[in-house]
Symmetry: C3
Subunit: 231 residues, 3 copies
Amino acid sequence: MKQISNNSIISSTAILHDDVIVEDNVVIHDFVVLYPGTIIRNGTEIYDHVVIGKKPTSPGSTAKQYSKEYDLTEIMENCIICPGAVIYTGTIIKNNTLIGDNCSIREKCNIGAYDIISRNVTVNYETVIGDHTRVMDNAHITGNMIIGNHCFISVMVSSTNDNSMARDELAATKLAGPIVEDYATIGAGATLLPGVRIGFNSIVGASALVTKDVPPNKVVMGVPAKVVRDV
Amino acid sequence: MKQISNNSIISSTAILHDDVIVEDNVVIHDFVVLYPGTIIRNGTEIYDHVVIGKKPTSPGSTAKQYSKEYDLTEIMENCIICPGAVIYTGTIIKNNTLIGDNCSIREKCNIGAYDIISRNVTVNYETVIGDHTRVMDNAHITGNMIIGNHCFISVMVSSTNDNSMARDELAATKLAGPIVEDYATIGAGATLLPGVRIGFNSIVGASALVTKDVPPNKVVMGVPAKVVRDV
Amino acid sequence: MKQISNNSIISSTAILHDDVIVEDNVVIHDFVVLYPGTIIRNGTEIYDHVVIGKKPTSPGSTAKQYSKEYDLTEIMENCIICPGAVIYTGTIIKNNTLIGDNCSIREKCNIGAYDIISRNVTVNYETVIGDHTRVMDNAHITGNMIIGNHCFISVMVSSTNDNSMARDELAATKLAGPIVEDYATIGAGATLLPGVRIGFNSIVGASALVTKDVPPNKVVMGVPAKVVRDV
């Protein structure tokens, strides 16, 4: 069953599968695909070629097993989803957030309000991002990562959650994404190893390799990263 | 009003909004979207799922304010725009340039002739790139950056324009993209900090972190980058 | 001439050009484009906005010359091709492999079985990847590279094949992609210089810059990378 507001503008080329809800004042551009379970809240704009609510699937080459059911995928009020972005089932994006061109956000993520997830960013499954946080172009956010409020993750940052780099058969049961506390900043091209905690208001320099926890209010730099001063 | 040449091949699935001009000998493939103000010059080919002339918009989470008007977006003669690329309003791409798959080029950029902007590259707003220059796959070109002629920017290069990493409320008024002079080469995975100038014909090594200006005709390497020899 | 199985589900919005074969139990989602010469084998699923079989073309700004003919592009049994992926003509993808969202794989590549090529990955021309290998999000695989079986290439890895960084006019005749032997692991954000060989079962640490061959069963780290211990 679909519930589509008459007060929204939906291109005739958009594909709305069953069980889709579109509230008022929404704009849906051309060639958009909304899979079952998708809810688009009041005032959100979905640009051309966006795909929302896709299920993860495996051809036998992935370790994870996936449900055959669609979860709820919710894009809250006044968001902008830019061309070519792909958002998987079970992900929630809070109000006033922008998802950039050709981003991909996997299943069961919880993305905050007033965030910017910029272009060609990949966000892996079950990640949590707070409010007023920015993840810049071409960055990669690993699975199970936790990012706080008012954080800034610069361009080309990479993050990882598997210390064995896929060598340990049991790794899937002990994956640990990094934790980035409120107001922390990660510089361009920096790399965060599994499970590291970046403390409140700390700054990771560009190109740094973070191999261990960073205390609050510190600046770290280098490969591997070392504390160089207070913020 | 549209002006579409009868000597061009335009797929029936392409969406041409109002105020679009398509000159002779153009090929427009399936599911392309051309927003108002777009001009496609003679001999250019636009591949499937390309979006041209999109306005930047903000859901309240970006610092920049955007015009509600469409600017002129011009793709000059004999260009090739590859599948899934997104080009924003006010950007001009000169003749014989290739824009790769799933690139995104923001508003008011000026991209030269005979350039290659390769796949999954993100180019930010108001950037200027000269002629015969190549930006390779997955690189990020920051806003306000200036790149000369005959430059080579390798894969996974990142560049930045905000020394405060978004911590300074006034930063939007003093952003400074790097400057890359003619014939300079930036190696794979290198990072350019805000405002650095890479001199004529100089070479930045792979993985280098450029924190200060590089004189002409020098090779720099390392984190942070240091001069190691003449070219 | 087209051969399309009646036992497959093909969206009415998909564009199948001439000379396309779709075998049994295939699912083709919305806005997919299959160019001439494409064969989709039994049980494969092609998601929204995928483009398969595109010819490489040059606007005069590339060194390579391209054939005007379509080659055979074959996606074997039980693969999953995710939204927005672009696969060029002459590439073969073996059975049970997943190609992630917004990937781009250039012409004449040979991708193995049970592989994962994750999201926003760019693979250049004539590359060979073995079976049971994973290339993670936002990585770049250069042209002519050879990757073995059971390898793991982490996120944001970059690789290169031209020692002259495009400065040598003859470079196109002597490009040499890296070789990654079976069971090798490349860490997040690492960079591989042209022609380096990563030995059997070796591990390249995150952020490392590999400038010379790595023997089998060694762990290397740093910029430039040095052997730190046995695996």
